[in-house]
Point group: C2
């Protein structure tokens, strides 16, 4: 159903430490990520250093069941957070793009999700104790973290509704609009959207097959709603119709 992830060695190359990246951990913009997950924006600064690591496309950053020792920030590239079945079935719970954090799965001692690079990706890794320290010391920190988690949860609930009750057209249109918003792009016509991911990733996020995603995008293209200049790019030609499609008015 889905492509087995090639598991490369985490032969990531350590680089110069990244100072102050954590300053932004409390984005609290409620827009992004996943619990186990991402967080954009910036908030109360705090001192921290992390090592830079590089990952190749499809390389695992951490896996479901690994002990939690660190959390991460994407500096370039993109990351998917997913669950895998032994037989290869895969469900993507969310994506992380540059500036976003992931791996905040600290409640337990093990990650509950797998994080994989979707393209050549660099991340900054922070030791878990940074979070714990901050949690103890900063007054506003934890409440930011809480609202962040609430935001994640809300996103997950919308994703549930999508997988459980939306049609294929609604899902694909909703996905595209979501990606537009994520980039902070205007909801105008003729906006170019870089997906930064292949069809399989879209399919695994939407709970569909790659062929169904293709066909649906082609349908939208034929309807004049989209253009597809390249495999990972979408030109939004009629956002009004795209929104109508997302709302089942098509």
């Amino acid at each position: 159903m889905s492509i087995g992830t090639k598991v490369f060695k985490p032969a990531a190359s350590a680089q110069a430490p990244d100072m102050g990246g954590l300053a932004a951990i409390l984005g609290a913009n409620g827009m992004s990520g996943h619990a186990e997950s991402r967080a954009g924006g910036r908030v109360s600064g705090f001192p921290a250093a992390g090592a830079v690591f590089a990952f190749e496309r499809n390389q695992a950053i951490f896996s479901d069941g690994d002990p939690v020792r660190s959390f991460y920030k994407v500096t370039s590239g993109s990351v998917r957070l997913c669950k895998l079945f032994a037989d290869g079935r895969r469900q993507i719970a969310g994506f992380c793009f540059p500036g976003e954090y992931f791996g905040l799965a600290w409640q337990g001692s093990e990650y509950a999700l797998t994080a994989e690079a979707m393209s050549e990706t660099t991340v900054v890794r922070f030791p878990q104790h940074c979070l714990a320290d901050l949690d103890r010391s900063s007054a506003g920190f934890r409440s930011h973290l809480v609202s962040l988690l609430c935001g994640e949860l809300s996103l997950a609930q919308n994703h549930l509704l999508m997988l459980g009750r939306q049609t294929v057209k609604e899902r694909v249109a909703t996905f595209l609009l979501m990606m537009l918003d994520r980039r902070g792009q205007d909801r105008r016509d003729s906006v170019m959207l870089d997906l930064h991911m292949g069809r399989q990733d879209i399919a695994d996020y939407l709970g569909l097959t790659i062929e169904t995603v293709c066909r649906t995008i082609s349908d939208l293209k034929r309807a004049g709603i989209l253009g597809v200049p390249g495999p990972r790019e979408i030109l939004v030609k009629n956002i009004r119709l795209l929104q109508a499609t997302a709302n089942g008015e098509a």
Copy 2:
């Protein structure tokens, strides 16, 4: 696709205040509920009083979009947390049973989910400021809350996997096992499971139709895995096979 919820007036009858119910808010057992949501177990006590309210079957306790003013504890009956489309489609994100809390959607100012009684239900309502107060004063409180939210999130992610990538049989079997665990019931044969909900609620949790749920339960019955003594009861006759079914080994 799903039954429109009859919206009764919240003509709930206020009763004697419930003291100390909040003592248990930090169950932190990580087993239950939904962010917007439930929390069982018990932890650091703290003083709080709430009024008791009663709701009839299918009556809304709060709705998606309502301003957040309170959170709740189920004292009897059961509650579903769901998202609704204008056309009647419904996705249930989770259930709450006696002892569990819900409505902890405090990050925003509006509920992101609708809470409805699934049967005659009584709840204790606490003003939102109780949470805020606790959050400020209690050292361990917020961290409990955080781990609770992480647990909710993890549950939601498993639910995503279920809706996106599991077959119907896997979903139904997984659901039944989940309900067993929820009751703290042993995973033994010949355990009687009270569902406390109708087929439509199961269907809306699993992203299926009521007929498909029926047929699948009948299949499991025919396979000797279950007995169905009453519409809302399941007799688990062969838990081993039920687990195998949940894991796709059938």
